[in-house]
């Protein structure tokens, strides 16, 4: 990792250079250094294996520069980047690339002006996590595996065992300077342990996961233990016939549906492309009134919190759905300005955009890439940070099972896709583990993994709510940077198809 002092110095020196360039009206320099360390587990009791398959890391760093060039009486914008070189020379090269790829984008209304100071104070991250060594990384992986194996051993289970998953550490540093007067910098690190345990002969699959801001408090062995316990409890699952069911969606399915269907539809660029399932829904009920959803990238104790966005603006909270009503969108500076200046936006939003400026707060202008948010190779897009689902009139988890009476607790789904594009709202996903049949208000038996597919519409799911718990379990989705803090949500009359009979 390149030090923060170097990133800050080069961002400042680069800005001095830009000020000497007469054809440049404005510019923004973004510099980042990123590392992803990962220890991947693969243990199989019945097939020779390494236990820890991949202790590894990827390191990248570079520069991305957005430049507004003078051209006659008009202006044109260009983006250039340089990979693997953090120097003023790298900035000069990036500017030349920007110069060779200028466009006249009528929807570009200028680089952002400085925002209020950030809510987060510097050095909110864990220095130990930022400086973890090779042996410590390997140790975390074996601790996660041992957590699972100890638990299985205690239950005298040693045959047909699979333990997979990983311990992952994200390290990010960035500095941003712009001719608009922004000088922003940030460094962050967090770790996660995500473990799956199977007792394959019993068709039993369990998950466990932990997310931590501090190396000292990360407990991969607990994720391993939780995964093993869940697998033990889900042995010899039963099948259910196709039909309409009452479901309790656990934190992972709630997060998966949010991450794949709901949050993309609340993203301003998707609404602008007329492909959101919430087209023309601003100010209207889009879910049960007990559901509220917000994005908050500025809370110290949450892993995806950062001081600044990748546009140099302070992070903050964006209300998305409040008591069932759509009240805001995930946005960056570019799309905020585009929507506020586009007369046709009213038809997509469903309201006069000038009167609801606060619905388009530019809190989510990040540059995503491989589970991270600070990728110098591209311009800012719109990325959720920490997404929190709140419940009013929350119910205790045990009471929720009683209220449902007869139905299914769904603990883990995958392959969640909108069937016919986001707009239609139809989706499908497959239940792959951690799930139980509820009978007479009690957990009666495990549900056989891979025996049920959910196929319904997201609007049904958001509105046919029985009850919600108050828990906020953090979930990271495979391949996505955001962390979703999910409750359990019980819904009724959801279509399930029995598969694989």
């Amino acid at each position: 990792m390149i030090s923060l002092d170097i990133l800050k110095k080069i961002a400042a020196d680069g800005l001095e250079y830009i000020r000497t360039q007469h054809d440049i009206l404005d510019a923004e320099i973004f510099i980042s250094s990123l590392s992803h360390l990962l220890c991947r587990i693969n243990y199989t009791s019945h097939i020779p294996c390494n236990g820890i398959e991949e202790p590894k890391s990827t390191l990248s760093y570079g520069i991305g520069v957005q430049v507004v060039f003078k051209e006659g009486n008009g202006k044109r914008t260009g983006f250039g980047n340089y990979t693997g070189d953090i120097s003023v020379e790298g900035i000069k090269d990036s500017i030349e690339k920007a110069r060779l790829s200028v466009v006249e984008d009528p929807d570009f209304y200028g680089l952002p002006a400085p925002s209020e100071p950030p809510l987060l104070q510097p050095e909110y991250h864990d220095k130990q996590l930022m400086n973890i060594g090779d042996e410590e990384l390997v140790d975390l992986g074996w601790r996660g595996l041992t957590g699972s194996l100890n638990t299985l051993n205690d239950h005298d289970i040693s045959e047909s065992v699979i333990v997979g998953g990983d311990i992952s550490i994200i390290q990010e540093r960035m500095a941003l300077s712009s001719t608009k007067g922004i000088m922003a910098w940030d460094e962050a690190a967090y770790a996660s342990a995500s473990i799956t345990t199977m007792i394959e002969s019993d068709n039993a699959k369990g998950s466990g996961w932990e997310i931590g801001m501090k190396l000292g408090s990360l407990a991969p062995e607990k994720a391993g233990k939780d995964a093993a316990m869940s697998a033990i409890n889900s042995r010899h699952g039963r099948r259910l016939p196709s039909g309409s069911y009452k479901l309790i969606l656990g934190p992972q399915p709630v997060a998966d549906l949010l991450g794949n269907i709901v949050l993309p539809s609340l993203t301003l660029s998707v609404v602008d492309a007329a492909s959101s399932t919430f087209l023309k829904k601003y100010g209207r009920m889009v879910s049960d009134r007990r559901i509220s959803i917000r994005d908050n990238g500025s809370m110290r104790e949450l892993p995806m919190s950062r001081r600044y966005t990748c546009e140099g603006l302070a992070t903050g909270q964006t209300e998305l759905i409040s008591n069932g009503v759509l009240v805001g969108y995930l946005s960056n500076n570019y799309y905020r300005n585009k929507v506020l200046n586009d007369p046709s936006a009213r038809d997509k939003i469903g309201a006069d955009t000038a009167s609801i400026e606060k619905a388009f707060l530019p809190h989510n202008g990040f540059r995503p890439g491989e589970s991270m948010m600070r990728n110098f190779m591209g311009r800012p897009s719109i990325v959720p940070t920490n997404v929190v689902v709140d419940a009013s009139e929350a119910i205790d988890p045990d009471d929720l099972i009683k209220v449902v009476g007869n139905g299914i607790y769904i603990g883990r789904i995958w392959y969640t896709y909108p069937i016919n594009g986001l707009l239609a709202g139809d989706f499908t996903c497959t239940v792959i583990g951690d799930s139980y049949i509820i009978e007479d208000g009690k957990i009666a038996a495990p549900l056989k993994p891979n025996s049920i597919r959910i196929a319904d519409n997201i609007h049904n799911l958001l509105n046919q709510v029985i009850g919600i718990t108050a828990i906020h379990k953090p979930v990271i989705l495979w391949g996505s940077p955001e962390v979703i803090y999910s409750p359990e949500i019980a819904v009724y009359d959801i279509s399930l198809h029995s598969i694989g009979e």
Binding site: S101, L149, D166, T196, M198
Partner: protein, 515 residues
Amino acid sequence: MLDVVSNIKNLVEESFNASARSLQGCHYADIRIDVSDMRWASAEDGKPKGAGRDECGSFGIRVIAGNGKKAPGYYGRIFSLKDLNNINSLIKEGLVHAHNRAFANSIKKERLTSTFERFGKSLWGTELSPTDVNRDTVPAVCKTDPRTISPQDILLLAEDTSKRVKGLSGIQFNDITVYTQSMGELFASTDGALIDQYFTYTQGNVYVVAAGKEGHQELYEYIGDQRGWEVISEGVNVQGVNLLDFSKRVAEDALALSDAKPFRSTEKEVVVVTDPYFNTLLSHEIIGHPMEADRVLKYETAYAGRSWLFRNFNENYLGKQVASPLITTYSDPSLPGYGHYVYDHEGTKGKKVMHIERGILKEFMNSRQTASLLGVAPNGSYTATDASFVPLIRMSTTVFAPGTSDPKMIIGDISDGYYLWGMHTPSISESRENFTISAIKTYKIHRGEIKELYRGGGVSADSMSFLMSVDAVGNDFKIYPIANCGKGQPMQTKRLGNGGPTLRGRARVSGSSGK
């Protein structure tokens, strides 16, 4: 800039091997280096949105080390062309990290083996199956080198195409993104392999939203091939169409679908005919993925899933019938398109891997390590998206083999059924034993003729039941690109090829929720 690879290869080999051999308990090491030049542009609703160019390099190192049970360790990073004077020092630094990790891994493996009497039995010392030690250079195939195309050239084409799509009545939104890329790769190992390979990739993405009588319809499709700018400008690609004609076709389909009624699911199995474009996703999801030996051996249990074809060494379908005798499937890196290569990323020459031959399960795609576990020869299927990532077992071009039937006759023989055209979205069980794959267009077939168009239809079936039900295989074999197959942690998005001919079988046709 791709000359960089050929210029540094001998120096890197010498320095890397000398450094690796000096490390304590190092049994094997390899290095992969790639250097890439990519140019791109995009336009939206006829307006220019962006353009750019990036050159960068990356490398990845694997070390297998240990004084007891051997274990692997890895390291990956990017570098700039300005780092070339210093490349050996960067590589040495990476080698030390990879070795530290491998060595620590080996010590922990020994410790766990002694802690758990029963669990420790399956912890092996890492072995790689022997492979030929290849030393070779493989040039790229292209007519118009991507490095001769400027971002402004690309922008002009994207903007013009986007304007023309916008001009079609009923189109609400469109986005056209085009990129063209040159890439050089180097592989060197302590076994003595030294291979440099060169590639070109060019792709055009088309996203449209149309409005019609039945509401909005969005479509996202792409053309792409492992060639130069001719992919976009002249239609020299496996799909045989240029960007402009392709974009118009996508827009016209979106318009037709926006006027079509949503499909309502069938209660029972019906006769389904699926076209080569639909079978591209079918071959990807239910043939290619479960044939990857890392899934077979459970490496992907926590992520991309296992394979229904292999429970363990005693319970599996190898040598058994899993499909109709009309079905033959294979992966073949010698086929054209995104899946083409000569050597994989551990230096093994890519071979045609026969998965299902006349209905009988034969062979999985593998790596040197998984080949060693399965007791077979490596078949060159171990590739990474870029050199900084650890390779995974990946499809090259995985297809259904062509049959002998005329596709018109396949449809003409049916009194009632459905014809599903084009790949849309998949939903798959974790071991790929069951699937729902939606099509772009679903047509009713009545008395041997294609009738009404519906949107949102898809095939739902158990994989083996569907494969066994196939009673006609067309002679219209076609390959399509898959631009974004995700696998691994962190997820690697990979380009590869899939395809096949028209197939006829039995399945439920799923549709909209109907609520």
